[in-house]
Structures are given as structure tokens and as C-alpha cells.
Amino acid sequence: MVEKQGFGTILMHAVLIIGIAIVCFPIYLTFVGSTLTHFEIIRPPMPLVPGPHFIDNYSEALTAGITAPVGRMLLNSFVMAMGIAIGKIAISILSAYAIVYFRFPFRMFAFWAIFMTLMLPVEVRIVPTYEVVASLGMLNSYTGLILPLIASATATFLFRQFFMTVPDELVEAARVDGAGPLRFFKDILLPLSVTNIAALFVILFIYGWNQFLWPLLITTKPEMNTIVMGLKQMMPTADDYGNWPVTMAAATLAVLPPVAVVIFMQRLFVKGLVETEK
């Protein structure tokens, strides 16, 4: 380091630790809330250390829930997140391949058509998109949850940027050896893209899991709710109504998969985050 550090370092550790304690407090308190009884919570102040009702609350949440079993909602969220992540990667890598490795009429037109979608987040065009999906009969279906969210310019750009860095000699060598475009894609380009695909997958999984507005609009049946939007439906609206511990257990379960992804795949996550913003 630049200069000798004594007291300054201790101070910095202290600031960081206090900061982290504040940042993590909402998540901790949610967990504590999921181990208490409803009465302990509605008569404040609630205890700040976990209680003994962990198993009761979680098994009630998973099997019965309040509007629908949380286990079912977790499954819906999982299907939606996987569908969005895999779908986005699949259609983006194909279209990026077409745009980078081929010359054809309307190439730039296709590029700009995809680029435009950057400017239209789902929040901005909700009413008409809802009408389109409703008229296609996709309400309360996985197709309706996934399909409208898988078109993405960012993923296409990421793959385009990456393909531009792949040496031209590889294409030449492949052509000399008699490999066609599909063979080149499958045997050379795809294996080279594995790290990028994984990093993007981490980001897109979290994006899909955390969707709120879209499932809120198109899933009217409780058994099709995703966990993130179902949580809002579970929230007690008055003190003598609802069940805070079960709601908090559901909240803990709702953040567990994406948090696990971020922590255990930290390197890929950071890479994906930095790459998608380029």
C-alpha cells in the first residue's frame, strides 16, 4: 500500500463492517421473521434473534402457503427463469452469428430492428403487450410468461462483440478443411463461447427469477403465480389477517436461489454484469 497504515485501516474495517451489517440487516430480519409466530410479530417489538418455529413455518409455506403452495410458485419461477435464460441465449447467439458471419440483404435492417428493442422495456409497453398476449391465448401459461421476455438486444450485442474478437483465421481454416457454416458454429464457435454463455446465463437467470410486473399481469390463477409476485399477494393487509412468519418464509425462499447463484458463481456473475453493460 501507499503509506503505512495503522489506525486508518482499523477505521476502514469498522466502516465496512458497520456498512455490511446495515446492508444485510433487511435480509437477516426477514429470516428471523420466518422463525417466529404470528403473534410475536404483530405485537412489536419482535425479537431480533431467530425463534424455534423454523420447521413449522417453512413446511406450512411450502405445502400450503396462503394463496397457493410456495413449492408450486418456486417451480413456476424456476421454469420461467430457466426458460428466459435459455431462450434468450439460444435466439441471440443464432442471430448474432447471422449478423457477424454472413453478408445478405437487409442485414443492417435486422440489426437495427433488434437494437430498437433496447428502447422498449416491458414496463413501458405493458398494456398493449398484455393485449397481444391475451389475444394469442397465452394468459396463465408458461409460454406467455417466457416468450414476450426473451427478445433481447443486450444478449445479441454481447455475442456480436465476442464473435468480432474471434480470429478470422479460424473461419479460413474451417473452410479449407471443408466445414460449412453450421459445422463451424457447432464445433468451433460454440465451444469458444462457453464462458460467455455461462456468464450471461447467471445474469439472465436472476433477471427472469426477479420479474414482477409481467407475471402479475398475465397470471390470474394462483397456481400459475411466480414466487416474487405471489409474495405480494401473501402480504398481510391487516394485523389480525394473514400470516407474517409464513410470508417471511416465502420471502426467504424467494431470495435463496438468486442469492445462491450470485455467491457461488461470483466470478461468472461479475463477468456477466460487466460484459452486458458494455
Binding site: 430480519l29 404483530i42 397481444v132 407474517w244 431470495v255 438468486p258 461470483q266
Partner: protein, 293 residues
């Protein structure tokens, strides 16, 4: 940037593009066209037909006190979310960049709020600050603060700003930390030898060199506060009390789905598309410029 070597094939590129273009046309261009068209229509009160009214939906919006108020609300919300989350993240990043021991652990502990969905963040913060059961609210009241965000618009605003800023700290922290670590140590050492103290070094060397990152994050945070905080508003305040936390995106939803005022909602969508367009252009201009740094 163009590839020198390409493949020749007449049909294949179109087949490869077809899935993405199909999804884009059906779920982006069709709805966006619908929004444009509907923004020029006035549905009759029974929902049976609609009259073409040119720009009167827009005219009506810009004379609507509540809509103009929503612009102000969005501006206040965006300003404070960006300010709070960026300054806290910068502080943490500067600290984490300096400490040698435990930097990795601090990083791991600071990044998880990113994984929490905005709507879940709203539920968590409400659980702490809800006036009747929230434990933080209880101690605030014990300290004599008259805490009631259900009735007090200013307090409701403070609460949604805190929750939204909290969620964005991780993201800003990661980018600030990466930016700080990219600054050559030799520059800082040279300044230290010349007798520049910590604060002086930060103000005259580190902060200016960090400006590309700061500007980039500024745009990202504005986009975040504008468009991705719907879940927080919806779970915590539902735009209330009154209209005090109704940001523009929330108003599109509440006028369209709750109020069933489709013409007005579509016109608001069109206005927001223009806002996103401007922000996207700024972001791209900036990325072109960043190359020179």
C-alpha cells in the same frame, strides 16, 4: 467493425435470424405500434368503440395536474435514489479498495442485495418499517418520531427511496471497485511522495480518473430508478398515500389496468418510450467516448 471472412449462403442467415425477429415483431413492434395508435384514440365510456382524436390525449396529459406532479415525483425519487446509492457505494468501494485483508469477503457480503428482486426488497423493507408491526418503526416511535408512511407522503417517499437505493448499492459498488482497481498504483504513489494526503489524492486524482465509471453509473441508475423500481412501489405504497409515490411507470400501470383509461395510458407509454430512447442514445454516445479515456 466488419468481418473480413464470411460464409456464403442464401437462406441460412434468414433462418438463423428468424426466431429473434419473430419474437421481436410479435412482442415489441406490434405492441409498440398499438401503443402509438391507441395514444391517438379516445375510447367511448362503454368500451364499445373509439374515436380518433389526434393528439388530444397528449394535450390532456400535459394539462393534467396529477401527470405533471408524477414527473416531479419521478425526478425527486430518481435524484435521491441515484445520490444515496452511488455515494454509499463509492464510500464502500474506496474502503474495500484500501484494505488488504478481507476485501474478498466484504465484496461477497455486499453483492447479494443485487440478487433480491425489487418486489421482495419492498416486502423486506415494509416488514421493518410498517408502522404497526415493523421493528425499526417501533424503535423510531419509541424515540419520539411520528412515523407513519401510510398517511405521510414525505415519509412514504423516504421509505421507497431507501429501499430502491439499498438494492442498487451492490451494482454500483462492483463497478466503482473495478474502476478503482483499474487506476494505476504508480499515480497514487507519485502523489503520495509529493506529499498529497489521502483526501487530496482522492479529490484530485482518483475521483477524476473514476469519472467515466461515475457517468456510466449515473445513466444506469437513472434508468433503474425510472423503470425497474415498479415492484418496490407496488409492494410498499401502491403509489400512495394520495399520489405521493406515483412515479411515471407506476402511473402507466395504474391508469391502464386499474383506471382502465387506455388512451391516456398508451399516450404515457409513448412519452416513456421517448424518455428511454433519449437515455439509450446518451448511454451509447458515452460508450463511444469512453474509448478515449
Amino acid at each position: 467493425m466488419e468481418k473480413r471472412v464470411t460464409f456464403d449462403n442464401r437462406m441460412l442467415p434468414y433462418l438463423l435470424l428468424a426466431p429473434q425477429l419473430a419474437v421481436t415483431i410479435v412482442f415489441f413492434f406490434w405492441p409498440a405500434g398499438q401503443a402509438l395508435y391507441q395514444s391517438l384514440l379516445l375510447p367511448d365510456p362503454f368500451g364499445l368503440g373509439a374515436r380518433f382524436v389526434w393528439f388530444s390525449n397528449f394535450e390532456y396529459l400535459f394539462n393534467d395536474r396529477y401527470y405533471l406532479q408524477s414527473f416531479v415525483t419521478t425526478a425527486v425519487f430518481t435524484f435521491f435514489v441515484t445520490l444515496v446509492s452511488m455515494s454509499v457505494a463509492l464510500l464502500f468501494a474506496v474502503m474495500a479498495d484500501q484494505v488488504i485483508k478481507g476485501a474478498g469477503a466484504y465484496k461477497t457480503l455486499l453483492i447479494w442485495p443485487y440478487a433480491v428482486a425489487p418486489a421482495v426488497a419492498g416486502v423486506m423493507w415494509l416488514f421493518m418499517f410498517q408502522p404497526s408491526i415493523g421493528v425499526v418503526a417501533f424503535y423510531m416511535k419509541a424515540m419520539g418520531i411520528d412515523w407513519n408512511p401510510v398517511l405521510n407522503g414525505g415519509q412514504a417517499m423516504t421509505l421507497v427511496i431507501l429501499a430502491a437505493a439499498w438494492k442498487q448499492i451492490s451494482y454500483n459498488f462492483l463497478f466503482f471497485l473495478a474502476g478503482l482497481q483499474a487506476i494505476p498504483k504508480s499515480l497514487i504513489e507519485a502523489a503520495a511522495i509529493d506529499g498529497a494526503g489521502k483526501w487530496h489524492r482522492f479529490r484530485t486524482i482518483i475521483f477524476p480518473l473514476l469519472s467515466p465509471t461515475t457517468f456510466f453509473l449515473l445513466v444506469v441508475n437513472i434508468v433503474y430508478a425510472f423503470f425497474e423500481t415498479f415492484g418496490i412501489i407496488h409492494t410498499m405504497t401502491a403509489g400512495g398515500p394520495g399520489q405521493s409515490t406515483t412515479i411515471l411507470v407506476y402511473k402507466v400501470y395504474s391508469d391502464g389496468f386499474v383506471g382502465q383509461d387506455l388512451g391516456s395510458s398508451a399516450a404515457q407509454s409513448v412519452i416513456l418510450m421517448v424518455v428511454v430512447g433519449i437515455l439509450t442514445v446518451i448511454q451509447f454516445r458515452f460508450i463511444e467516448r469512453r474509448v478515449h479515456y
